[in-house]
Symmetry: C2
Subunit: 564 residues, 2 copies
């Protein structure tokens, strides 16, 4: 490190001490905390921010991403991104073929010893600096995420910007705590007959080496940041392998990381982007490469399970998918219930890994504040609420976004074949993007004995499942989630006994439970610093965002000892 860059590092540690203290306190209490404001208001981000962000986004289109030209030499450039809203992005990124990986990873590895020796405090401060600068580009990021994932703009701003940044900071805080739990030095003095035996011991944090982050199409930042920043903060380099249709958000991220690392006097190749063409399959040779010590994956269960079972040289964290479940037993606010569920189905067209899919309702109806309602009446209430949210095309697209791929549209359009269609999916025309494919949620009624709802139906399709009563609902809930997994569950009941039974069932199923959500919180939402996202206790994910275990496997402690 040069003198100049050392100065920069020394500035970063005091600059970010306070935020790290607050973040560390928050993960201890799991109470509300947020560093990055979720409001895209000009009062928060500045009068010019929105326009500047859009301008920055436009500058990326139809061009090479030159800010990454400083990465290790690549054979060529690659880019297949097409906006779910229509336009082709036509951006090219540095491309490494399978044969280039040995050389690439050797370059990535070469800065790790300096990064390791810098220690947890410096690394945490560098990570916060990266996040602060990513935060300053939140409008640009919102456009990038909107046009790669199909998220509506405001959601893209919040979920892919401040919310993702907060979740990253949460991971940085866990990494700091986890590394500093082990003292750097200890004096061991064993009493004996004569002089005590006395040794000084030093404990060194040693990273696994290189963390591979495999991004997904729908949440390229929110789902990648915890692993990316946890690996970086624990002394690893990171190789970010984005989904071929959602590269830009992670290119911006890696660009900022490289910029800050270099300014702080570290090797910028501690963070590189490894983009690939559609269907190239670079993740397998990367994940099984001997230089890779950590793998973070978000995506389909097939490849996630393959990684869990076949990657032996690295620790593997996965988030896959499952059958998110709602148990309806009774309610004192049936309109609130219907509105809340409708919003959860509608937001981003049900393409969130946390969106509910399976709604168990007793066949003989439920008690509500509007009296006893039959199964069909409950279904009608929910359908009406979806219609109310999505009836106006211009407003609907602000919630629905666009379908991320044709399979989603296919499932929406053919939902009727899966059961009795209570509400058909409707094609919505986007006023600004006529080429976008947008669908409203379909609601399908089925019997508990049907098979249709026991596999994931990714997209705007929800099942209303007739059970013999809440007892069967709970039983089916536990069975299906144990077998197929779930990221979320929720229950509606006016009975404390039923709520307690549902809570016990959620422990058996190993899935987080929300109770009686009728107001401004939705089951899809997972708040950084407070809500654990995923449990690792069912097949939907083998890890939690974020707890100590998610971080502690990314490094090891190596000690030395000597008489003193």
């Amino acid at each position: 490190m040069t003198t100049t860059s050392q100065t920069t590092v020394h500035e970063l540690v005091p600059r970010h001490r306070e935020v790290l203290e607050a973040a560390v306190a928050a993960i201890g209490s799991r109470e509300y905390y947020s560093r990055y404001p979720e409001s895209p208001s000009p009062r928060v981000y500045g009068e010019e921010a929105a326009a500047a962000g859009e301008q920055a986004h436009r500058a990326h289109l139809g061009a090479r991403y030159e800010a990454l030209a400083s990465q290790p030499a690549s054979a060529d450039w690659v880019g297949d991104e097409v906006s779910p809203y229509g336009p082709t992005l036509d951006i090219a990124y540095p491309h490494y073929a399978e044969g280039d990986l040995d050389a690439l990873l050797a370059d990535v590895r070469s800065g790790v010893d300096d990064w390791r020796d810098a220690g947890p405090r410096v690394r945490a401060a560098v990570c916060v600096e990266i996040l602060d600068r990513i935060n300053a580009r939140s409008f640009e990021m919102a456009h990038a995420v909107m046009h790669t994932t199909g998220q509506p703009f405001v959601m893209a701003f919040q979920a892919a910007g401040p919310h993702a940044q907060d979740r990253a900071l949460e991971a940085v805080a866990y990494a700091l705590v986890e590394q500093e739990r082990v003292p750097a030095e200890a004096v061991w003095e064993k009493p004996g007959k004569g002089e005590p035996l006395r040794m000084t011991k030093r404990f060194h944090v040693v990273p696994r080496g290189i963390g591979l982050v495999i991004g997904c199409n729908t949440f390229p930042t929110w789902n990648s940041y915890p692993g990316l920043f946890a690996s970086l903060a624990t002394g690893n380099a990171v190789v970010v392998k984005p989904h071929s249709r959602a590269v830009l958000p992670l290119a911006i991220t890696v660009e900022v990381a490289r910029e800050v690392l270099a300014e702080a006097g570290f090797d910028p190749n501690l963070a590189v982007l490894a983009a690939e063409a559609d269907g190239e399959g670079l993740a397998k040779p990367l994940a099984t490469h001997p230089a890779i010590g950590v793998v973070d994956y978000t995506g389909g269960p097939g490849f996630g399970t393959w990684l869990e079972q076949n990657v032996h040289q690295a620790v593997v964290y996965t988030e896959k998918a499952g059958l998110n479940t709602v148990l309806v037993d009774s309610t004192d606010d049936v309109e609130g219930l219907a509105r809340n569920l409708a919003f959860s189905f509608t937001l981003y067209s049900g393409q969130m890994c946390t969106a509910p899919q399976n709604v168990y309702v007793p066949a003989d109806g439920i008690d509500t504040d509007a009296g006893r309602l039959s199964f069909d009446e409950v279904a009608a209430k929910v359908a009406d609420a979806v219609r109310a949210l999505t009836g106006d095309d211009a407003k609907a697209v602000q919630l629905l976004g666009a379908a991320v791929n044709p399979d989603v549209v296919e499932r929406a359009d053919h939902a009727g074949s899966l059961g009795t269609e209570v509400l058909a999916s409707r094609a919505v025309t986007h006023p600004d993007f006529p080429d976008a494919t947008v669908r409203t949620p379909a609601l399908v009624a089925v019997d508990a004995s049907d098979e249709a709802y026991t596999s994931e139906c990714f997209g705007p399709v929800a099942f209303l499942i007739r059970t013999s009563g809440t007892e069967e609902s709970l039983k089916r809930f536990v069975e299906t989630v144990r077998e197929h997994g779930a990221m979320t569950a929720s229950v509606y009941s006016t009975s404390e006994d039923v709520l307690a039974a549902a809570e016990r069932a959620s422990l058996d199923a190993g899935v987080a439970l929300s109770m009686n959500l009728t107001q401004g919180v939705f089951v899809n939402q997972s708040a950084a610093f407070s809500d654990f996202h995923g449990t690792g206790a069912n097949p939907a994910a083998n890890a939690t965002l974020t707890d100590g275990h998610y971080v502690s496997g990314r490094f090891r402690v190596v000690q030395s000892r000597r008489h003193t």
Copy 2:
């Protein structure tokens, strides 16, 4: 739970509060701490303890282990133990064949929900009570371990008794801290334009289910206790599958665990012994059974690697083996060096997983307090020190113990075929046990280019390896340990630069390093609460005894949330 047993539990928590506080403080500082006195002195354990322990041991011989007859119904009884000192133990234990496992594990699982709901504090107190009662049986345990492993008596007392109990307590302390890091409840209040959004969140510790502990022949308690108690303390049941030749120590352990669990009002089947016949191979179907959520293994690298790669439904912690290494560069106490190494080679005939095997010495000799010594002179010093320790048969057996199996004897007797025999292994006659096979360490000189020392040679064989100098020693050290693993390493040098280089090399190799051990600490020794045993950073082990990561994978956190 009955009223009586609840009282018992309520007594245990205050009774063990203080020790848990001290143990938690010790794992935070990694300074010296011990609860269980290592001295077998009558002043510590009582005048009658030694005789009573021997008496209790004799009572086990030639009989069914009736104290475990209360385990779930088993098809028959099994037992193949033969003391390495000669006598057949002729003890029979409940036996479950592969076809019995579904029923056995269902019985084991049935008490887990109550155990989960009891919470971390109660479980920790129950675990300490188990350990205290095991401690009271330390003399009985010493005989059991001596006559299953071949350890000499005093070592068996210390390593399998108080040292193992301390390592177990360390794991219980980590389990307590790890579970209590997550608050049981949090109030989340998100500020907004109107009333804040307010939710109460509850966080539940949920165990994986059942932990399987696969014991080894040489250290049935020391190596099994951390996993056993970490699993139990985090809410899991445990199935203990001992090595077929070292059942008794774990039978005693399980007996005490069941006794305390039952008294505290829990299902005694939360801890069961699953003994097997020689070569039966019960570990595979157990480890891959869907009911098993955690596997702890100590033993050979072959099966350890198989477990790591083939057990997908459980988290797997392994300690295997490797090439423990000594780097000799220079010394200001060559007699101390020779004595220290000789002791490490001699203790339990080199059958410790921490015993050094590979000693790198520059071919052109080293600087010492006795002047420049050639390679051969260094070798002769070490050989003399081994002779001094082992020259008298009656004294030698107190250090050497007995060979645990014929392969160890075979390797000792044929060490000369691996290189130039500096010191041949010698057969020692045990004055009390004429049938015991006892061998002194062999020292074999080889060139760095030889292959012989690059695989594990378990038993009393050490290699003195001629290198072109310390630079090559360090390079070979890093290369061989990265490839084959190591549990320990040590270095001798009078140069701070060389010590620093060795410390950096130990980080690259991922192995703990001891420096200039010439006094009363030996590289074989790993002190509970202070020394991390294994790093998980090289192939010898994927885990550390004990750190947070070793414990946190044994449970998950499942949350619930509701508006309040």
